[in-house]
Symmetry: C2
Subunit: 301 residues, 2 copies
């Protein structure tokens, strides 16, 4: 058996991108991903795949990148690492469906290596329903917990908490959605083998397509009106606020002169802002908003 | 004659807000500003005035604030100042019109005082036309130069350059609009009296209403179609990117736990993002885009 190395990991991410795109296209039934191959002047490049104006998906991207080179000072001090050269590979996904009943989803799985010898995985997946269905939120968290539990009994609780903290819009005092899991520098202190860590990341990556296509199928035909659509646009505005103000991947990308169009593929097709918008009491909107907070125990809901 | 002090300055800003709101309402013909008085837990407060779904203006705000208290560490190190207590007063404006032919406008004039004795003015005004009319851009810059020249022959060149650098969306390699003027810590090194500096700020503040209502009147009836509206939404997306990624006022506000709704009143009512959008050759859009760069000598255009 070959020793696990960056090439094997990166190849696996590339295949994950292929598989996810195939599943999403099949489920959507109309949209085709357009591919753009790009090169990074400092080393490496990527394969950006974008779907727009499909059947269920209004705008989304499944990006693979494998970049390497000299680590910018800004990043090494932010990461508190000391390697001079870096290698990073991963897959990033954001999907914005037309229907306010099909949640926005985001996933990122990544591998990082430094010339100092440090190697780690990171990642996360979170769901942003516009109209929160507590049953589906619970289902999402159970799916995540099942995958986590397979690897480590502490993972789910730890990574769920991390997601609650990470996907938080501080200036709104709201979470972005119903959370999920988030992890970085996975298992480094516990001395878990690189290949065990990789297996966990693979399991996370592999849950994306079956889970999300199931949600797409289940929710795509739920009828909605102007009200729900307007609320969706406002929530997408919050999504924009999170990504541009807080998201570390976006900041990292823009700071390192990454490919802007690939980084900002996460932006929604349309968004809106209304001054001092407050949902009406007892409305579906108010009900959904009440779920956008940290610390909800979805699994035992 | 009374010695100029923070109360006189702050009162003048309050009156400026009144006058600008009155002029804009009169010109719009339909919209009425809604007022919200808010208090800052750490000291001071503000008067937020917002107009939505008016006749010409789709969404806009004219905000006055007068805040004081202990300067947060984050700010004192960012400003490289050492006063412990601060006082800040000013007016901030952003207007998003319905028509892509009526430019977005922004103005900010502000006064800052520290317990160490340091006092300064800052401000800026910039215009963001969607469909750039070079004649009007020139007119705007001549208006600014005229006001600047009245006070100092170097102001316009210096502050115009500053605006080009400030209102720049680095990751897009585009300016936000056709620039304007930007200044901070006005005239400190030149030993200009506080009252002379205040007169300059007053002249800048006073040019807003006559200039913008003139543009509103001139452009409001220009016919436009779906194409121009779509382009407007994309350019508003860029406006969002600038405000959330680069704008120091927004960062300052969110970092100091300012009132989120007042800070983000600058967000457009609607915005859109399209992956890798490129304007068609020789289109009006391509023509406008060519004007979104630094260093254009508008006055001598």
């Amino acid at each position: 058996m070959k020793t696990l190395n960056r090439f094997i990991i990166s190849d696996w991410f590339r295949t994950l991108q292929d598989n996810i795109c195939t599943s999403l296209e099949k489920c959507d039934g109309k949209g085709i991903f357009e591919e753009e191959i790009w090169q990074r002047p400092g080393g490496g490049g990527g394969r950006t795949r974008v779907i727009q104006n499909a059947n269920i998906i209004e705008k989304g991207g499944v990006n693979f990148s494998e970049v390497h080179g000299i680590l910018p000072d800004k990043i090494s001090s932010a990461l508190n690492v000391h390697g001079h050269d870096f290698f990073a590979s991963g897959v990033s996904i954001v999907m914005h469906p037309f229907s306010p009943f099909v949640p926005i989803i985001h996933m990122n799985v990544r591998y990082f290596e430094l010339s100092s010898g440090e190697k780690w995985f990171g990642g996360g997946i979170d769901l942003t329903p516009i109209c929160v269905d507590p049953k589906q939120a619970k289902e999402f968290h159970i799916t995540l917990k099942t995958v986590c539990d397979k690897h480590n009994p502490h993972y789910y609780a730890e990574f769920k908490k991390w997601a609650d903290e990470y996907f938080f819009i501080k200036h709104r005092n709201e979470t972005r959605g119903i959370g999920g899991i988030f992890f970085d520098r996975l298992g480094e202190t516990e001395n878990i083998s690189l290949s065990d860590r990789f297996h966990f990341v693979q399991d996370v990556g592999n849950l994306f397509a079956p889970f999300y296509t199931h949600i797409m199928q289940t929710n795509k035909d739920i009828a909605y009106g102007k009200k729900e659509k307007q609320y969706q646009l406002l929530r997408r505005g919050r999504y924009v606020e999170f990504n541009l103000v807080y998201d570390k991947g976006t900041k990292f990308g823009l700071d390192t002169d990454g490919r802007t169009e690939s980084i900002l593929m996460s932006m929604p097709p349309e968004a809106s802002w209304k001054y001092n918008h407050k949902p009406q009491k007892n409305s579906k909107e108010a009900e959904s908003l009440a779920f956008l907070k940290q610390g909800i125990d979805w699994v035992n809901m």
